[in-house]
Amino acid sequence: MTGVIEVRDLTVRYSGATALDGVDLTVHAGELVALIGANGAGKSTLVKVLSGLVHPASGTITVDGRLAQVPEGREMFGDLTVDDNLRLGGWRNGRKGRDTTHVYDLFPDLIPIRARRAGALSGGQQQMVAIGRALMARPDILVVDELSLGLAPLIVTTLVGHLRSLHADRGLAVLLIEQNARLALDLCHRAYVLESGRIALHGAAADLARDPRVAAAYLGGHVPVTP
């Protein structure tokens, strides 16, 4: 069975330094997949390759379907309005694809602030705009780069709930790149652990959460007690 994203033996070098080294990764249709790893492990590089912003030295990437990205740090068009930010998310779709109604239906919280400058919003609101902007592309798979970074736990819980329902209601596949391994393993079906540009571990998220190596490195050393 092939996936929406098929990455095979991917190697990326930045002026000599190897950022990714023989990475294999698959995301199947409608699947929630986590990619966890420390700072500098190569997570962001993989996102950039998937979005076509960085070209690999070798290996293949197949994306079957439409991919949209929620970039790390939200990357708002700060001096444009929320509404304009969303419309630009549908840039590739042409005029008819820029109707924002479905995003406002999903995030009614954005309706009262639709005319405000995106740069003036809180981090949580910006993340909502960033997800909404990505959904404007009508994607089959959403690549979310650092969902929780810099956000209050309560807001993160809300956003995770949104991702869950997008997955459940629309069959949206999600590749979640996340520093908060506990959150990622909790949300996703499967997970990959990236270390120094290589996939060190991969498997079912529940199994990885019980793996002592993952626990030691990413979950603060505590193996969760399983009932």
Binding site: S51, L53, Q69, P71, E75, M76, F77, G78, D79, L80, D84, R87, L88, G89, W91, R92, R95, R98, R133, A137
Partner: protein, 286 residues
């Protein structure tokens, strides 16, 4: 009193020309981060071609449109050379535009010679508030005003305008949503070229054009643009009009020889004040 009204209207007419050049600079700088020093030559090329087309018997309107079209094409060519190669820094592109501006001198002298040229604009004299001013100044204002309104509408209300603004707001995010940043940069150069060309064809009937007229235009246009930190078109417009009025007032009540100096002093003052406040005009990260 009637003198003052005359100077003001004349100043607004001249200032509208500066504002058009300045807005062209701002549009290009916002989207690409490049200060385009070839901006004045778009006006000169447009004016020279218009004089030739009128000389060949083409009617007014058609000839001017031809001039503006040449300005736009020249803008696109400068854009392709200045930012066409991926990874060119805005500083490098600036030097390229400076060089292309000088190259434009050579082309202009070869084709049109080095003598001043002009062509008739709107003839007649209008009387407003007791002041008698050449009607062409009013034509400049009447053409420039809707152009500025159109630009404001275009950037705020159309998706293409939003995409151009997105490139200036967040280049990385623009690429993430699939906007071709380089193509938008070229579009900005095209628009900048057309605005420069329009400035040239509008002001030449009241101010002769030679191959090196671009210096006056670029100094004044840059002064207008720098008032808004090279990023705010509305302030560039206001700055251009202010400069035009300041210069005609200086010429009217003082001496005509000091017109460019007014722009230079104003520009230097603004730049020094801005540098003291913010540490200079920031070069946008690419």
């Amino acid at each position: 009193m009637s003198d003052l009204v005359g100077y003001l209207l004349t100043g607004l007419g001249i200032g509208a020309g500066f504002a058009l050049v300045g807005s062209g600079l701002v549009v290009i700088h916002r989207v690409t981060g490049v200060v385009n020093f070839a901006q004045g030559s778009f006006a000169v090329l447009a004016a020279l071609l218009t004089s030739t087309l009128l000389g060949a018997g083409l009617p007014h309107g058609v000839a001017e449109a031809g001039g503006v079209a040449l300005g736009a094409v020249a803008g696109l060519i400068v854009g392709v050379i200045a930012i066409g190669r991926p990874g060119t820094s805005p500083g490098t592109s600036l030097i390229v535009t400076l060089g292309l501006g000088v190259l434009a001198y050579a082309i202009e002298v070869l084709i049109w010679g080095d003598q001043p040229r002009s062509f008739p604009g709107l003839t007649g004299v209008a009387e407003i508030g007791g002041a008698r001013i050449p009607a062409h100044y009013l034509l400049i204002i009447a053409v420039a005003a809707p152009v500025f309104l159109f630009l404001a509408w275009f950037f705020a209300r159309t998706d293409l305008g939003r995409a151009l603004s997105a490139c200036s707001s967040n280049r990385y995010a623009a690429r993430v949503v699939g906007i071709d940043v380089r193509r938008m940069g070229l579009l900005a150069f095209l628009i900048g070229g057309a605005l420069g060309g329009l400035a040239g064809v509008l002001t030449t009937p009241v101010q002769q054009v030679t191959f090196d007229s671009d210096v006056v235009l670029i100094v004044n246009g840059f002064a207008a643009a720098v008032l808004g930190g090279l990023t705010r078109p509305v302030i560039a417009l206001a700055g251009g009009l202010l400069l035009g009025v300041a210069q005609t007032l200086t010429a009217g009540y003082g001496g005509g020889a000091y017109q460019v100096e007014v722009a230079l002093v104003l520009m230097l003052t603004v730049m020094i004040v801005q540098a003291a406040r913010t540490g200079g005009i920031p070069e946008p990260a690419r």
